[in-house]
């Protein structure tokens, strides 16, 4: 029963990791940009939700309805301005620019909100859970986040495979020049991909704020987990991201069960093991066209 609980709790955390990582994977897969400010964007989304929900009189639980579209718009604008400018210079500039953004965001948040933790108020729902067996408690919030992750990945999968714009995004990811030769304005396509990435990271940031507390510097450690998820699952594979998230979550729960201080260590060991044995990740695609 203890082991079942470890798997269940790991999967619940894993849902959050997957939601958090899919935007990072998309940005890297399509734009070839490693967004070092990805974690901070999630934190900003949390602060924006905390800021807006009392002012717009929307309950914290539903704040994502406003924040997610706002971040999609922000993603498009940031891509078409700051990130595109750095892509045009050279790939390494994007690392510097997103690292710079990360530093700026963290310090601005510290200046504005201090280092105190905040969370998104969802009332008594935070403590409620389903209790199917003696020691197994399934938090409704965590379950909702896992469900949201699955829904988001499913929607993203459908969008990328069935819609015209989705196909263009994949085309640009496969071969940017050939996509341009097929009439795609790749900057616009990049903007749309960034909008989706920012929307998902906003959702992840709000989920984080509901499940636990966040502070201006919370982005960094979560970004590390997101990288691990993407590497474990395989770059460019959406379902790999989900499996990677759940695998990391279970590994961490397992580590925590042995000794509370082994939680993060166990996740890192899984990450290194995958990197050593299967560097393309569990669902990674070998480049196929020679």
């Amino acid at each position: 029963m203890i082991w079942l609980n470890i798997v269940i709790q790991g999967a619940l955390v894993g849902g959050f990791y997957a939601l958090f990582a899919c935007g990072l994977s998309l940005m890297f897969g399509v734009l070839k940009v490693i967004n070092l400010a990805h974690g901070d964007m999630a934190v900003v989304a949390g602060y924006v939700a905390v800021f807006l929900s009392p002012r717009l009189h929307i309950p914290g639980l539903w704040s994502f309805l406003v924040v997610v579209p706002l971040f999609a718009l922000l993603g498009y604008v940031v891509q078409r301005t700051v990130i595109q400018k750095s892509i045009d210079r050279d790939p390494f500039t994007t690392l510097l620019v997103t690292f710079g953004l990360s530093v700026v965001i963290e310090n601005l948040l510290l200046e504005m909100y201090s280092a105190n933790g905040q969370s998104i108020n969802i009332g008594s729902l935070i403590g409620e859970s389903w209790h199917p067996a003696s020691i197994i408690y399934i938090s409704y919030v965590s379950l909702a986040v896992l469900a949201a992750a699955v829904l988001v990945l499913l929607a993203l999968q459908l969008f990328l495979s069935k819609s015209g714009i989705g196909r263009l995004i994949r085309a640009v990811a496969d071969d940017q020049e050939a996509a341009q030769l097929s009439g795609a304005n790749y900057r616009h396509v990049f903007g749309i991909a960034a909008a989706i990435a920012f929307a998902t990271v906003a959702l992840a940031g709000i989920a984080y704020g509901m499940m636990t507390q966040f502070a201006p510097t919370s982005g960094g450690v979560n970004l590390l987990f997101a990288f691990e998820v993407v590497v474990i699952g395989g770059i460019g594979s959406l379902w790999g991201t989900l499996v990677g998230g759940i695998a990391l979550g279970i590994a961490q729960q397992f580590g925590a069960h042995i000794n509370l201080s082994y939680q993060i260590l166990a996740g890192n060991i899984l990450f290194l093991a995958v990197l050593a044995v299967r560097p393309q990740g569990l669902f990674g695609r070998r480049s196929s066209l020679a």
């Binding site: 196909r167 085309a171 496969d174 071969d175 020049e177 050939a178 030769l181 097929s182």
Partner: protein, 247 residues
Amino acid sequence: MSAALLEVESLTVHHGQLCAIDDVSFTQRQGEVLAVVGANGAGKSTLLRTIAGLHRPTSGCVRLDGKDINDLSVSRRVALGISLVPEGRRLFSSMTLEENLQVGAYHANPGPFDIKRVYELFDWMPGRRKQSVWQLSGGEQQAVAIGRALVANPRVLLLDELSLGLAPIIIEKIYALVPEILAQGVSILIVEQDVSQGVSAADRVHCLLEGRTSMTGTPAELTSEEIDRAYFGAGLVAPAVTSGVVE
């Protein structure tokens, strides 16, 4: 066969320090097949890529219907009717055959070609439309690349090294399509390393040697010796060998 469609005027293109295209000019007329031939490194691909907008010229200009298109992006040029089938096919490797065509059709101009029409042109395609493109043979991939460009309904189709890495019989099949494409009002600019292919398909031939125009004319006007000389450079064709071939 009259109005100038695509004009290249005094075009010079550099790759860093290297001058890949040096003061090249030509005119492609409506409904014409123009072949640009030349050895490896003569600047043929650079020429096509510059026309398509993938390279910026150092000087000179490219005009479509008399309008300077130097400052337009690749996608804007596709919208105006310039489609390039790039060297090496460059298909979208994570996609199926049909998805590749759908990407080409997404920003298509109105015109005679759509995915259905391409399926008529290549009758093996419908049965394999759900296959990943990397499962196709080189010749089939080349056909998909041509189809992907055709569905955009270009006015001028730029074909870069169609024959590269393909068996002669496949090359022949692909070149057999040229009249059908022309019949739909699409002009064709071919770049070929394989001179005989380029020359036999073309109305006019333009030969490049180390980035410069070394010869231009219709296939009827040109002897194979003239073409050899223009292709390899004057001093490089040994007389004995040439006469040996003639006898």
